[in-house]
């Protein structure tokens, strides 16, 4: 007599899906934009990347062992590498090491493990890390540098780069404002958008990535390519990115048409800052976004709207991180109110009426 296990209901077959496969696909999708920006910003960006991802991994291991949870598969499933990776991409490329470490602490320990670890966090860990250091160390976090491609003239050498990331040097002479920052500063000095916009990099450079900004966010096209890969692999669906970018585009275009001196154009909103990185990689974070498609549309529109409001009216030039965190807080409520319609039932949950009187 052969005995087999009967401890579990079916199915007794399983798709070749795993958390690790999902996370790896996202990392692959991030790779082109990351490699481009590593080249664009040189050695300091590479050091920053290594420090951020490394400290996230170490902190994850520390939190797990403190909580007496097994290290495997939490360490190798790729989720914490992704958190560190996205966090690094959201920091200015020449951020000093200790800022990165503090950001990693907030991301992994506070945002993720205090809430119970993978899958339990309410807020996007990478964005919590970024916002925590942004409000704590505004000088370091707005020290954006113009591109210094690796091995190009004027790019810092290896040793200089070590000093930039790990030293205590000041970098004021090197910094330049981002396009969003420039427009905001000029506007506050009374210079209309229509004038200040002349001085930002042209549309093509913005799209290709040849401009200052956070380490990973500059190349809209490569991020778009990564996003397309995720859509093709069905890791993400179009709902959040389209809703978020669409809302930004519509609001930007509408208000720009009303007052070109006060409001930047919709297209400018779309290609600048963290719009693409946010839309495809940060807002689509599974854990902190709604699970239903209807909910994801609402969530995407909310992020687009808040991003536009913060960029246009608030003190910060960029608003994606704040917008994502604010909408994260609404995710449980969105989940409750936007469920799919159950088969054979009305939206209210009553059985469908039978038409034709049968």
């Amino acid at each position: 007599m052969t005995t087999a296990f009967t401890d579990k209901s079916g199915p007794f077959t399983h798709a070749p899906t795993s958390v690790q496969a999902t996370m790896t696909a996202v990392l692959v999708a991030l790779a082109p934009a990351t490699l481009f920006d590593l080249w664009l910003f040189g050695w300091p960006a590479l050091f920053l990347f290594a420090v951020t991802v490394g400290s996230c991994l170490i902190l994850e291991a520390a939190c797990l062992s403190w909580a007496k949870k097994p290290l495997q598969p939490a360490i190798t499933d790729g989720s914490v590498v992704l958190t560190g990776w996205l966090l690094a991409m959201s920091l200015p490329p020449w951020t000093p090491w200790w800022v990165a470490c503090i950001a990693a602490f907030f991301a992994v320990c506070i945002a993720k493990h205090v809430f119970g670890g993978l899958g339990q966090n309410v807020f996007n860990p990478a964005m919590v890390g970024r916002v925590a250091v942004l409000v704590s160390f505004p000088v370091q976090m707005t020290a954006f540098v113009p591109p210094h491609p690796l091995f190009s003239a004027g790019a810092p050498g290896f040793l200089d780069s070590l000093r930039i990331t790990f030293g205590a040097g000041t970098l004021d002479s090197m910094t330049a404002a981002t396009a969003l920052g420039h427009v905001k500063t000029e506007l506050s000095r009374g210079i209309p958008v229509s004038t200040s916009i002349q001085q930002v990099p042209d549309f093509l450079d913005m799209a290709l990535g040849f401009h200052g900004g956070s380490f990973g966010e500059t190349s809209a096209l490569l991020i778009l390519a990564g996003g397309a890969y995720l859509l093709w692999k069905r890791i993400i669906s179009w709902h959040i990115p389209v809703a978020m970018i669409g809302t930004l585009l519509v609001l930007g275009t509408l208000f720009h048409a009303l007052s070109p001196d006060r409001f930047t154009s919709g297209l400018f909103h779309v290609v600048s800052g963290a719009t693409f990185l946010g839309a495809f990689f940060i807002a689509t974070d599974y854990v902190t976004s709604p699970v239903s498609k209807q909910g994801q549309l609402v969530y995407g529109v909310g992020i687009g709207l808040l991003t536009w409001v913060i960029r246009t009216f608030a003190g910060y030039p960029e608003g994606v991180a704040f917008a994502v965190l604010l909408m994260n807080a609404l995710t449980p409520i969105i989940d409750q109110h936007f469920r799919p319609r159950v088969f054979g039932r009305t939206r209210k949950g009553d059985p469908l009426p039978i038409k034709g009187g049968k």
């Binding site: 052969t2 087999a4 579990k8």
Partner: protein, 497 residues
């Protein structure tokens, strides 16, 4: 024919190629046949034979015991060796009353078979239904609901379509595919007979498009038959679900707690149609069925036509035995089938497949935390939110899960199949459904008891009332004689006077 989209679903690896090209082969008669009295949904059958009786092939061994029940017949001639409890093909492996038949090898038919119905299309539909009930035919797709009951659905409703389910959306299973390829004419004839019994206006045969040969052969067989259409439906699991197949064909969702018949559609499996053909045209009861014996641990997978009551172990040895110890033995398909604790259980009317699956095939992994990817929500063919329901069930908030619609779940397994964290979502839902059924039963019992208590109280009240009335009457009578005596003495005195 225009088809309609069906929400969600998955595309599992079908793994049908190991058995789809091998013709159906008959199982040599086993040494013993174990015929459970309950091979169907409803009341178990009641034995009409005794231990030691000699029976002929097709002779009735057990009779149906209610409107929803089915008789059991002898798959071959032989001697009743025992009527005892024997392990059922159920995950629990618990024993249930079973007739054990020892074949004599002669395979002699009984003389007691009813006459064939020569012209079923001009026969009273009730006669066809009675014949189907007599033959012990149940839904052979796996549900095993008595077919005659389902053929009554046309009595009070107008049935537009008899939908013959040849979707066979479960991976591995190819028994319906083979039956369609080898016995197409019988299926079409059986379907037309069932349509007559139902008063259905037309017959539609739905076959998943991954079975091109079956589609071609059935299409050809349907050419000569009026009112029969063969349709290729998308290979999208769970297309074989009654409600979802109906939606694909007529574009309407069956309302919750209603039947597809309420939309004018009755669904029957292809093998059921074939069994009806045999019962009506030849007067033969249901004695055997085609079973796919498959899975990576089986040496030579086959489609076996097995007499009911043959042990699963007989089928497996006929297929060359096991090449390695299986991780799971499954009764049915891998998506919705039930695990079997042992091979020593019989094949019953609803057994469509016996799968011995290796660990690589089942790909079971320890569960990881849910990452809320929402894939289960996207693919749920019932529009449910599995992630949320499972979270509530984990916390024993069964009431919330019920509100979220766990009872509308058809347990198709798509969510568990696709979950990257390998969370056994369906297991949670089956657990919750079990608990809810228990609660319902208890509530019904409570209602029943309160009705009984109320009835008793009313009865006692009535008795007390009657007693009071009687007492009052006696009182009144006493009073009357008391009044009467006053007169009576007068009369007496008068008389004395």
């Amino acid at each position: 024919m225009k088809l309609f989209p069906v929400r969600g679903g998955v595309h599992p690896e079908y793994r049908k190629e190991r058995t789809s090209e091998s013709p159906i082969v008959a199982l040599p008669m086993p040494r013993l046949l174990y015929l459970p009295l309950q091979q169907h949904i409803g009341a178990p059958a009641e034995p009409v034979v005794a231990v030691g009786d000699l029976v002929k092939k097709g002779q009735r061994l057990a009779d149906r015991t209610g409107p929803v029940s089915a008789p059991v017949h002898a798959p071959t001639s032989g001697r009743i060796a025992a009527i005892a409890d024997f392990a059922a093909p159920h995950p629990s492996g618990l024993p249930q009353p079973t007739i054990v038949l020892e074949p004599d090898g002669a395979d002699d038919w009984t003389d007691d078979l009813p006459a064939p119905i020569d012209d079923p299309f001009n026969t009273d539909p009730a006669a066809i239904r009675d014949r189907v009930a007599w033959a012990g035919i149940v839904g052979m797709g796996g549900a095993a609901f008595p077919s005659a009951v389902k053929l009554q659905l046309g009595n009070e409703r107008t049935i537009d379509i008899l939908l013959i389910n040849g979707a066979e959306c479960e991976p591995y299973l190819t028994c319906d595919d083979r039956v369609m390829r080898e016995h197409a004419a019988e299926i079409i004839d059986g379907a037309q007979i069932m349509a007559r019994a139902l008063g259905a206006l037309g017959v539609v045969v739905g076959i998943e498009e991954n079975k091109p040969q079956a589609l071609a052969i059935m299409g050809k067989a349907a050419l000569g038959a009026s009112g029969v259409t063969v349709v290729a439906v998308p290979a999208q699991y769970p297309m074989g679900s009654e409600r979802h197949l109906t939606q694909a064909i007529i574009g309407k969702e069956t309302p919750a707690r209603k039947l597809t018949a309420d939309l004018g559609v009755v669904v029957h499996n292809v093998a059921t149609a074939r069994a009806v053909h045999h019962a009506v045209r030849f007067g033969r009861p249901l004695l055997a069925r085609v079973v796919t014996v498959g899975g990576g641990a089986v040496k030579e997978p086959k489609n076996v036509e097995a007499p009911l009551g043959a042990l699963v172990s007989d089928l497996v040895s006929f297929c060359g035995g096991l090449s390695r110890p299986p991780k799971r033995v499954v009764n049915g398909g891998p998506m919705m089938g039930a695990p079997l604790p042992s091979l020593d259980v019989p094949v019953v009317k609803g057994t469509s497949g016996i799968l011995a699956l290796t660990a690589e095939e089942t790909n079971e992994q320890p569960s990881q935390p849910c990452i809320r990817c929402g894939t289960c929500v996207t693919i749920c063919p019932c529009g449910l939110v599995p992630v949320e329901m499972a979270a509530f069930i984990r916390k024993d908030h069964i009431d919330v899960a019920a509100k979220l619609g766990v009872r509308d779940c058809v347990s198709c397994g798509s969510c568990s199949y696709i979950c990257p964290s390998h969370i056994p979502l369906v297991h949670y839902f089956n657990y919750a459904k079990g608990l809810l059924n228990d609660l319902d039963r208890e509530a019904r019992k409570r209602d029943h008891i309160s009705v009984q208590v109320e009835t008793r109280r009313a009865r006692l009240e009535k008795i007390a009332e009657a007693k009071r009335a009687a007492a009052a009457a006696r009182e009144a009578q006493k009073a009357a004689p008391a009044a009467a005596p006053t007169a009576a003495p007068t009369a007496d005195s008068e008389a004395r006077a």
